[in-house]
């Protein structure tokens, strides 16, 4: 499943969640609003109750009994604050009112009774409901804020939209990182396991083949064949080692043990070890080092040696015996450039212009050379290849910071 489709899926989930939240909130608001002021049972009848109460010159006449449920009551308060007419008035509702009483109950409660009022020519009609049956809450909003409503509505909308987009983004990223880690671990386990399982039988093959190569009682032809088995097994060993390291570098599982390295000393030792190990016999090695000492670099000597060894092996393998292999280094800006030249690359590059170096091209194919590039990059440097002939590789290694 591609990351894109996973992201789409997560987006859909978040958007649906947001939609559900919006519907729920709007539903609740609508329900509350419907049963509030303007709701059928509370507000509307007051004006009708009022019109049902008439003054016939001597007394009040109320013809709207069906408009007022049994648990509700009504009073008419005259201009001087006296109750002049009442219907089912509870005992704890007073007969006389002051200006402050009126100011309070018109907005809130009359002795805890929720009430509605209507102004008439002859006074104030007050209709009460049972205690605790209605909540009154005053909402007031600054006018300025309402003028700016389009603006903050827009901002809130954008924030919400941002959440809807970002949430799945972070969720998916986290998920994919975790998946990547699991995949990396599985891959490294697998390769470690395979390389471990290959090594043990391979040591048998190499051991016996080397013995047969030395055996006096075998025909020269057979001994030569044993030699081929031996050298090809060594190739497999190198390949397994390279594969292992390349995978570890890929998954960033190889910790770099950096230390300051004097490149001249390092190169001489690496080539000496290469020659002492019996490799490169019959080749002419040429060292090209500047007279002035190079600035030290900071690198993992084990990995750097592996890189240079791979380059030397590559030169030897694709070079006719007696050919020359040049190694050297030079300082260039904030880097020390190590180079190895000679033979041809494992995969010859077609018509690569001489001296043209590629940092990412066909010249760098093969596990051995891929590893060289990975090692350089792991150190914050780079590797450039030219398929040649002659094959040439430059390793740009950053100088050790002072």
């Amino acid at each position: 499943m591609s990351l894109r489709s996973i992201f789409k899926g997560a987006l859909l989930v978040t958007a649906s969640a947001a939609l559900i939240a919006v519907i729920t909130i709007v539903g609740i608001l609508a329900f509350v609003f419907y049963h509030s002021n303007g709701g059928r049972s509370w507000d509307a009848p007051v004006s009708r109750i009022s019109s049902a109460l008439t003054w016939d010159g001597t007394d009040y006449d109320f013809s709207g009994d069906e408009l007022l449920e049994n648990d509700r009551w009504a009073v008419l308060i005259s201009e001087d604050g006296r109750v002049v007419w009442s219907l089912r008035k509870p005992a704890d509702v007073p007969e006389q009112y002051t200006l402050t009483d009126v100011a309070s109950f018109t907005r809130w409660y009359l002795n805890d009774y929720p009430v509605q009022c209507r102004i008439r020519d002859d006074g104030l009609l007050v209709v009460g409901s049972p205690k605790g049956s209605v909540w009154k809450h005053g909402i007031s909003t600054p006018a300025q804020l309402l003028h700016a409503a389009p603006l903050w509505c827009g901002i809130i909308f954008l924030l919400a939209l941002g959440c809807v987009l970002l949430l799945p983004y972070f969720a998916v990223r986290r998920w994919s990182q975790q998946a990547q880690r699991v995949r990396d671990a599985a891959r490294s386990d697998w390769i470690n396991g395979v390389s471990h399982d290959i090594r043990t039988p391979l040591s048998m093959v190499m051991g016996y083949a080397a013995q047969m190569e030395e055996a006096e009682d075998l025909l020269p032809e057979r001994r030569k064949q044993a030699g081929i088995i031996r050298s090809q097994s060594q190739e497999i060993r190198n390949l397994v080692n390279d594969l292992n390291l390349t995978m570890r570098l890929d998954c960033a599982m190889q910790a770099l043990r950096k230390e300051p390295i004097q490149v001249e000393v390092f190169l001489r030792q690496t080539v000496a070890d290469f020659l002492n190990g019996g490799m490169g016999e019959g080749f002419d090695f040429e060292m090209d080092l500047p007279a002035e000492p190079l600035p030290p670099i900071e690198a993992d000597p084990f990995l750097l040696r592996r890189a240079v060894n791979n380059l030397l092996t590559n030169c030897v393998r694709h070079n006719a015996p007696g050919g020359s292999i040049r190694l050297g280094a030079r300082a260039e800006g904030k880097s020390v450039v190590l180079f190895v030249e000679g033979g041809a690359a494992a995969a010859p590059v077609e018509a690569a212009p001489a001296r043209h170096l590629e940092t990412d091209g066909a010249a760098a194919h093969g596990t051995g050379l891929k590893l060289v590039r990975q090692i350089a990059e792991a150190h914050g440097g780079k590797a450039a290849f030219n398929g040649g002939p002659p094959f040439r590789c430059e390793l740009w290694m950053p100088v050790k910071p002072r």
Partner: protein
């Protein structure tokens, strides 16, 4: 002692701990694991070497010999190139019956080359042996010492048979004498 790290009933590292109790036997680890961590753990425990599978019989022999040489330092008093006898005790060389004394630097140089006989020793390693550190700028002084040494062991110092120059890298002591 050769110990495999992966044993059917445990691991070589803990076995190594038990075996080393009260004994001082040189130990080489064999392992099919080549992670740095394992290598470092093995060497950190005090093993003398760590060989990763697969290896060639010659490789194993070379490493074994190196360990044995290091642990049971053969304090041989003398050694011999084809027609040159080296007397470490007296710090002198004999050629055609004539004995020549070696200076301290020449002795160190010759001993270092002899210990690695057949192999290239880099100029840096030689400088490190002579002056306790890979000193840049000592190369010319090193060349002087080499020339003096050649005068003492070579029949024809300008065409050395034993103490060979490996251009750009270092020197190699050829035991049999090159043609």
């Amino acid at each position: 002692m050769l110990l495999d790290v992966n044993l059917p009933d445990g691991d070589g590292f803990s076995l190594f701990g038990e075996l080393r109790e009260g004994r001082d036997v040189p130990v080489l680890f064999l392992s099919a694991r080549d992670e740095d961590a394992d290598r470092l753990q093995g060497l950190g425990l005090g093993a003398d070497d760590y060989i990763t599978k697969p290896f060639l019989p010659q490789e194993l022999l070379l490493r074994l010999n190196a360990v044995l040489r290091r642990v049971y330092r053969e304090e041989a008093q003398a050694a011999r190139l084809r027609d040159v006898e080296m007397d470490w005790g007296k710090s002198a060389v004999r050629r055609n019956g004539a004995e020549t004394a070696l200076t301290a630097k020449e002795f160190t140089l010759l001993k270092k080359l002899w210990d690695a006989r057949g192999n290239i020793v880099t100029i840096d390693a030689l400088c490190a042996a002579l002056w306790d550190g890979p000193l840049v700028g000592y190369e010319n002084t090193l060349m002087v010492h080499i020339r003096r040494l050649r005068e003492k062991i070579e029949a024809d110092p300008s065409h050395p048979k034993y103490l060979l120059t490996v251009r750009g890298l270092g020197y190699r002591l050829n035991r049999e004498g090159a043609k």
